[in-house]
Subunit: 353 residues, 2 copies
């Protein structure tokens, strides 16, 4: 016999018992064993008892791959991270990943993390879908015009975005971008700031758009006009935030700007670095407000004031929604999670000049 016909006879790993073997030991068929293990109500309670007990005794473990083949599923999820200039090494995505992977693991799902690097946005998706390597896909950073969406719809694989899409019948989960930035701008206004610059995100992304709208909302709420000289392009990277400030130092030094609303924390951090290098104190001379609430904002001194998204929760939620779709739920889910301002320490009232 290749399998342990007495419990504990062999190592608890080597060639662990198969369902067929277990069935024989129990004196039942594979089918019944399979049902009992799956909790199928059609098996007689005593039978189930017995089978469960034997399974335990023989330390039976279902073979995931075989089961997956028979059920036409993979139990793995494709998790796509943003393409350049952002990277998977963005701290935002780590906290997010933790939420996602935790939820998936609880449900027995694996994660496939393709590295989009060289490939285009769509090749990766085609590859995942065509080889049936995943049961569903989680994406980030929807674009204003997003070719991935048509492809995914055609593929028939369930998918969810982190971030709201333009497309109305796509499921997504997002933080309150527009409202959050608006709140942020108003908070700066409440401190007395009137010359508030914004550093935009990467062009073409829905989130960039929404955050810019939030900025405009905030200005409006303060009774301020939009001044295009205070709208600085960025790309969501630290380098981008740094550059934005460097390029507009004269405005800052000239007192044209007393506060900066960065579209994310990483750019806020870059901005602060540029300000430091220019000898400008934060927040004494310039206030800086970020968006996202990533942990590393707390590494700074003073800690970064920021509009905090529930990053970890976003991860959990987006995973949960995808699992729902995989389980057969049909309706598209679009959920906005609330945000809030934290760490009011890198912002103060404008310097008197």
């Amino acid at each position: 016999m290749a399998y342990p016909n007495r419990p504990g006879k062999n190592s608890k790993f080597k060639g662990s018992i198969t369902m067929a073997e277990l069935a024989k030991e129990c004196g039942y068929s594979k089918a019944t064993v399979s049902r009992a293990l799956a909790g199928d109500p059609r098996v007689k309670p005593e039978t189930r008892e017995l089978i469960l007990e034997m399974a335990e005794r023989f330390n039976y473990r279902p073979h995931a791959v075989a089961s997956n083949l028979a059920r036409r599923r993979t139990k793995t999820i494709g998790l796509l991270f943003p393409s350049a200039p952002r990277t998977i090494a963005d701290p935002f995505f780590l906290e997010y990943l933790q939420g996602v992977s935790e939820t998936l693991f609880e449900q027995g799902f694996s994660l496939l993390i393709p590295q989009a690097r060289q490939q285009g946005l769509t090749e990766t998706i085609e590859e995942l879908v065509a080889h049936r390597r995943v049961d569903g896909i989680i994406l980030t950073e929807p674009r204003l015009e997003d070719e991935r969406i048509a492809l995914l719809k055609e593929s028939n694989v369930p998918f969810v975005f982190l971030g709201s899409t333009v497309d109305p019948d796509v499921s997504w989960v997002d933080g309150d971008n527009r409202g959050g930035i608006c709140q942020g701008v108003q908070a700066l206004g409440a401190l007395g700031h009137r010359r508030i610059a914004v550093i935009l995100g990467e062009e073409g992304l829905v989130s960039t758009e929404k955050r810019f709208l939030g900025y405009q909302d905030g200005l409006a709420a303060l009774g301020l006009e939009l001044d295009w000289n205070l709208v600085w392009p960025g790309d969501f990277t630290r380098q981008g935030g740094y550059q934005a400030v460097v390029r507009h130092l004269d405005q800052i030094e000239g007192g044209e700007v007393t506060a900066i609303m960065a579209s994310n924390d990483l750019m806020a951090i870059g901005a602060i670095q540029a300000l430091h290098e220019a000898g400008l104190g934060v927040p004494q001379e310039v206030s800086v407000l970020g968006f996202d609430g990533i942990e590393v904002g707390n590494f700074l001194w003073p800690p970064l004031t920021t509009v905090q998204q529930p990053v970890y929760l976003l991860g959990r939620e987006v995973a949960r929604v995808l699992l729902g779709l995989i389980a057969g739920e049909k309706e598209t889910v679009q959920r906005i999670l609330p945000v809030r301002i934290v760490n009011a320490q890198s912002t103060v009232g404008p310097a008197p000049c």
Copy 2:
């Protein structure tokens, strides 16, 4: 027919053709098709040509799960992250993850990231192994006495550690902990420091031990005695670094300590925060040196001086070694990658007092 018997007839995804169908179309057996696709030299070149062409034409895609079942493999790797107090959200692990996942993906492997959270160290491993959910396991943070190792050896599943183990016949990849810290201490000495405190890592870990030895080496090289008052316990977390400084503020303020060698960057960052809160300037009043070289060290002002490990490369390397073991290589690999000091900006000579 359920499959597209004319190329392009259906969507490129829906029910893509199976190998059996492709074989029929080609007029060959499944076996030959399988061989041709696998590049088996036994098939006649023209036959291979034909089959490859037809595969292309019918857009054939191998079914990963079925293939895995037949070959008794899963094509997924279990990636275990540290347990509390460290978390997967430690920036170190993100950079590391990027290296690992990139290498694995190139070879078509998925990643299973269990959340050890509640479970003990060993339960997770048992669960991965027993269900044959993975072809190999990557672990971190070997302990001086590590019960996982016996378990893994018994399980017969290939595994590799990030970090050197005490056990001589276990494969691992590591940065040069001891040499790196020693270098760091010497660098501080070269700046004129003589009262150099160390913040230790989490107790029981091999890396903690090695780094402490490196500290002692460094002192010895400087002709200094080990002073246990300057050996502060820590745990590799930011909070740990913060606490270590808070608890020893009197020593610092009393001039007993002019430089701090933290066993990792996160603790260095925590230490700097505590110093800031106490109104002590870094590096003017106290120099702080970290270890790891994580990206977020650059977020600080001034950027953190640190002993940089090639974190991303460590990830790639550890994955590569594991893939080697899975491919059947027998000999254990133990590789130390070099480190170097970067960003000499949070360290200067001691303040004259």
